[in-house]
Homo-oligomer: 257 residues x 2
Amino acid sequence: MTTEPSATQAAPDLKLAAIHPPIANRLLCELPDEVKLRLFPHLELIELKLGQVISEAGSKLRYVYFPTDSIISLLYVMENGASAEIAVVGNDGMVGVALFMGGESTTSRAVVQSAGFAYRLFGQRLKDEFNRHGALLHLLLRYSQVLLTQMAQTAVCNRHHSIEQQLCRWLLLSIDRLPNDHVLMTQELIANMLGVRREGVTDAAGKLQRLGIINYSRGHIEVIDRALLEKNSCECYGVVLHESERLMPRNHCCKAR
Amino acid sequence: MTTEPSATQAAPDLKLAAIHPPIANRLLCELPDEVKLRLFPHLELIELKLGQVISEAGSKLRYVYFPTDSIISLLYVMENGASAEIAVVGNDGMVGVALFMGGESTTSRAVVQSAGFAYRLFGQRLKDEFNRHGALLHLLLRYSQVLLTQMAQTAVCNRHHSIEQQLCRWLLLSIDRLPNDHVLMTQELIANMLGVRREGVTDAAGKLQRLGIINYSRGHIEVIDRALLEKNSCECYGVVLHESERLMPRNHCCKAR
DNA sequence: AGTCTTATGTGCGCCAGCGCACATAGTGCA
DNA sequence: TGCACTATGTGCGCTGGCGCACATAAGACT
């Protein structure tokens, strides 16, 4: 866990905002225009670096984050330093549900799993809009259930499935949230996420490579055969995807790539 | 998994309602009087039998349930029949958060883990009160975060801890929600909850018995030394308890026994 | 080109938990 | 009292994942 507490700096570049508009995030995209008008002026586009800690376990959240092309892992770190990924958030969600739930903090840490951009919003702004009890409330409640489902399935997966199956699930979750099928992540870091040995990931990844499902070298993983990846994964991936589509249908959003 | 889909029958006995008042449930207890006045007339005291399925995965919830002295397990059942407990709900919570979250159903099944009583409320009544956006909303949001935390910690526990540690955690969760330190549950059923082999539970329980921590025989488990049980448990129990107390302080409720 | 660092491969021995098969002991019921 | 059933104990062999100790290879940096 070599992560910097580094301050997130706002990206001033307007061209960047054009490439990464707020509506690249599905939650933001699904808001009715009225809410967009109120909220969007306060969104700040920021760049997130790999490994960056967005929020620490137990510390009060100041901002919420809406990833566009970045991915954030919610990670629990045990007393002995071992860790386990609880859920993953990409452009389909947000980091910081504890703010509107009332807890202000969580027992898990939020870490950037894939570098990229996200919009951040000052916590109080979100709460203010949430307390209007309109579309945002209902959207975020539904998203909370998606998160709940994802966590539940993570628990199941951790109990019953092999490292190989979990790696498949993890890769699928990642490429679903990325603009292409290219994952930038070392086996060491994946092992940290899954809470398993690095060698275990090496074995599983080697097998997937031999099967022609992925190609990897030194931190670059390319998914070649997505269909086969799904076949080698456990049911957990599908369950979460299905439930997520049921709870958060794309009404206004452009379809996934 | 020998569970009956049995219809829950309302208990007409008034004396029962005196022994099990609604305020025996902490959520109901913490509501302001105004809300109690609106809600309580619609609560039905019902008796729950061991193994009874309160709600099936994927099926629309009709009622929400507020246990008084019963305990409900949220269980995910895999395609191959194997299962895993996701979270547990006693007089500290409710079953059916998916109703106000908007999903109307969950991917998990709710099963009675310990027979007893619960108040049930017709789903629409809960939603109506929730949509007043008052105390109930805030209370249930906080409870949702407790549930989230519990699920997250279950995931961690499944990843990293031994059967013995998990059994300790499970027993602690149970007796915290029961009127005494007497758990009625066979090792077979505990194994189903934890998603492990029955023999594994036998081993772990045998060890705890030899250590003088519990006493058990044929489905009756008595916790003798709670302190030692906590010591033999993993950190997961404490983390959830702590977070739960932080999020849901007892304002009006009587203290735990 | 050479060196350093980082990522990945590999080969141990070890143990927890699994699946199976069966033995034993409470408990209820005829 | 005896029988049947259910809950628990026990003993296999097997496998996946662990911890450790290295070997190798691919970039990165002079």
